[in-house]
Symmetry: C2
Subunit: 464 residues, 2 copies
């Protein structure tokens, strides 16, 4: 351990007491992700409880040029929270309170460590809910950091649309508040939007003001099989163009249907499916369901099954959210590499078909599912943990899908973010814009202590 | 004229020929705003036709450290486009084409000089429309620069929600593209959002990819009088909480109703009014109108009048959009200073009442109207052009309203932006965040040539 590190840890220890740990066990626990990245342990783990503590920690780290990496629920699929350059891992789980809920303003103020399921459990009695649902029970701080979205984005938007303001600790320990409690503002640069998706490289989020939505009076869900991927995707396009307001519209391919049947004892036909949900008044939901049924019939969809009870609905979405784990379990001992491109709706069927063909050509197993209402789909590439060649093939495939998405006018990541996994594609997506991101990073974190090695270009050696 | 300026204009003239003018007439035309700011002529006016020309102009200006200020339709109410430090005014009116419309992706690619009315005229046959409607027939580039919103934001969002991507010329002439044609992305810093609302201080927008919406199958508009401001505002709050999806909900006070009657020959009761519109299917609009009618009845609203024909609807919104001009005309020879605070919905009635009382106490005339569904309202302070003391009183009042909005958790500007008028309030709203904006500005425009003197703090003298 360098003298500087020893000194920094001594100062942090004086600040945090038992809430700083440099044990092998804790470092190891905070070194791993849910996917294929090599473990990268931090030098120590800190559990701050207040914004002031986060600020003090960052100041100590800045003084000793030690990296600071925030850790939410550890559900990232791109290695965002891995301390590849060591430093201090900020485990935010003790900052997990709901500080305020205003039903009149439809806003909640929360700390970053709370997870979305915890938040919605606390909101249940208010008649309101927080809509962003990435599947995993992620922390709100992590969801903000990666600009997360998910199954309900087609109706309620992503984190970009549902965060009204933030409190952020900057790289020098200063604390700023962004945004406001108003519905909109034209007061200068949109620092809230800049922080959302910055993946801990510009600041540590210590508080979020979130927009809430009214729990819908009525909900109606359905599962419906199609003969082909094309028919399923065309159904989605037609539904959007008719202006039928879907709350969720998810695609799963025939392999995922098989996995669901195996894992959940369901009897879905082994075909591509759409999983759909409508939210609204009783009358509106009935009308939306009827009109959607007509589109499905026209597109040759079959085996239309409505989940009418709350239990049936919950089972449906639990199954959908468990798809990643279920796919991994279907091939024991495997690990996953999950692609995440998002393309314009007009290119979606083509992109999914090409992905399916590429996966087959690469000799890989990769069931496909996605948030088709947004043009965002995932291939879950199932890999042998010990087969480096297979991992290399999967990476090359993921790269190819991302490049095709760019050719189609899309993006390399709809919702999982950049982290370690997609940094090599940033220049291809943004061109000189990636250098602009680097210039902003350098202006706000000149010592490069906030989640270094992620998202932005490496600074020139001289500046480091 | 300095040697440097002479040299720069010679180079610009060689580039643009007759599309560069330094005549007194053109400089004067581009020196004025629609409100109270002193004229500030640029040294010259340029009419670029391509992104490459904009880039070349910026490079020349950078080499000679000459300010560059973009000019759209000149409808700013905060002096955004005034060349207070001289330099080159970029009149974008020759870059006003629609480059592409995709009905499948519901996107349009346009140049920044097109106005929203021109764009919607071009879109009419497609079944789609561009929703953001600030009232004035502003240019899309200007609307992006100020993060504009307006009457339809309560349903369709502001520029923040309706711009998918931008092409931007940076301060050194580099051209970047932000965003994509996909519905969402998690690929790094949200440069689109950063540019929206940056008021020409970070780059010159040369192309916009806009999100379109389907023209609604049915539209229903109504005007409805209330005994009190409180009853009108409570009606809005209740409607939002019931989840009735309003496409527009506008408040006008009794003075504006009087002005409308005078100017348009209408017979509105001289009371506060709500102007409302619903968009959707025939069935949905009928249902929304019925439920809204129930809320209005409960709140004692009266004189409910539905505008059933397209002509009646157009007349209604033309009247609303003409309110600023009509108010000015109601007091011949006056000029306006328009306030623009936005507060959380729970504080709206209180904020409007307090504003009304403050206006009376200050001895000023200031009818109030606003986008009440967003908590955003304007007082149109009518001022004698030659009365400096009255202007000072109006500025002090506007300052007071802004400070109260901040105390209520709101913002100093819902949609008009900062420009010259509200720069003095930026620190009050953003604290250290304003310095962060300054750091970003300095990183991206170190010579401070892009719309200098606006929005961000002045750089330290040494750095200038």
């Amino acid at each position: 351990m360098s003298t500087d590190l020893t000194q920094a840890l001594a100062e942090l220890s004086a600040l945090l007491g038992a809430r700083l740990s440099a044990t092998h066990a804790e470092r190891d626990l905070h070194s791993r992700s849910e996917t294929w990245f090599a473990p990268a342990p931090p030098d120590a783990v800190a559990w701050p409880e207040t914004t002031e503590e986060v600020s003090a920690i960052v100041k100590i780290c800045a003084a000793h040029r030690l990296p600071v990496v925030a850790w939410g629920a550890g559900t990232s699929l791109e290695g965002h929270a891995l301390a590849t350059r060591g430093g201090v891992c900020l485990n935010m789980s003790r900052m997990n309170r709901v500080l305020d809920v205003s039903a009149e303003d439809m806003l909640a103020v929360v700390q970053p460590g709370i997870t979305r399921e915890e938040l919605n459990a606390e909101l249940r009695a208010t008649g309101l809910f927080f809509s962003v649902d990435p599947g995993a029970n992620a922390s709100l701080g992590g969801m903000a950091g990666t600009r997360a979205s998910g199954t309900t984005t087609v109706r309620y938007g992503s984190m970009r649309d549902n965060v009204a303001g933030l409190e952020v600790v900057l790289a020098d320990g200063r604390v700023i508040r962004t945004g406001s409690r108003a519905a909109k503002s034209a007061a200068g640069y949109d620092l809230t939007a800049l922080m959302l998706g910055s993946e801990g490289t510009l600041g540590i989020i210590t508080e979020l003001t979130l927009r809430l939505h009214g729990q819908p009076e009525a909900i109606s869900s359905a599962v419906c099989a199609f003969e082909s991927l094309e028919a399923a995707v065309e159904t989605v396009q037609m539904t959007i163009q008719m202006g039928i307001p879907m709350a969720r519209i998810e695609f799963v391919d025939r392999t995922i249907a098989q996995v669901f049947n195996q894992m959940n004892g369901t009897h879905m036909p082994e075909k591509p499916h759409l999983l759909i949900e409508f939210h609204g008044s009783e009358g509106a939901v009935a009308e939306d369901s009827r009109r959607f049924g007509e589109v499905v019939a026209e597109m040759g969809g079959a085996d239309f099954e409505w989940a009418t009870t709350t239990e049936a609905r919950n089972r449906l979405w639990k199954m959908r959210h468990g798809a990643y784990t279920a796919c991994l379990a279907s091939r024991p001992g495997s690990m996953g590499l999950v692609t995440d491109v998002c393309v314009p709706m007009s290119r979606l069927a083509e992109a999914v078909e090409a992905a399916r063909d590429d996966i087959a050509a690469a000799g890989l197993t990769g069931p496909i599912l996605g948030h088709v209402g947004d043009g965002n789909f995932h291939a879950i590439l199932l890999l042998d943990r010990d087969d480096a060649e297979e991992l290399a093939r999967a990476k090359a495939l993921a790269h190819k899908l991302a490049e095709r998405a760019l050719e189609m006018g899309g993006t390399i990541t709809g919702e999982h973010g950049i982290g370690l996994g997609k940094r090599g594609l940033m220049e291809a997506e943004h061109g000189a814009g990636w250098q602009v991101m680097g210039a902003i990073k350098q202006a706000l974190d000149p010592l490069n202590i906030l989640n270094p090695g992620k998202l932005v270009p490496d600074l020139p050696e001289a500046a480091q």
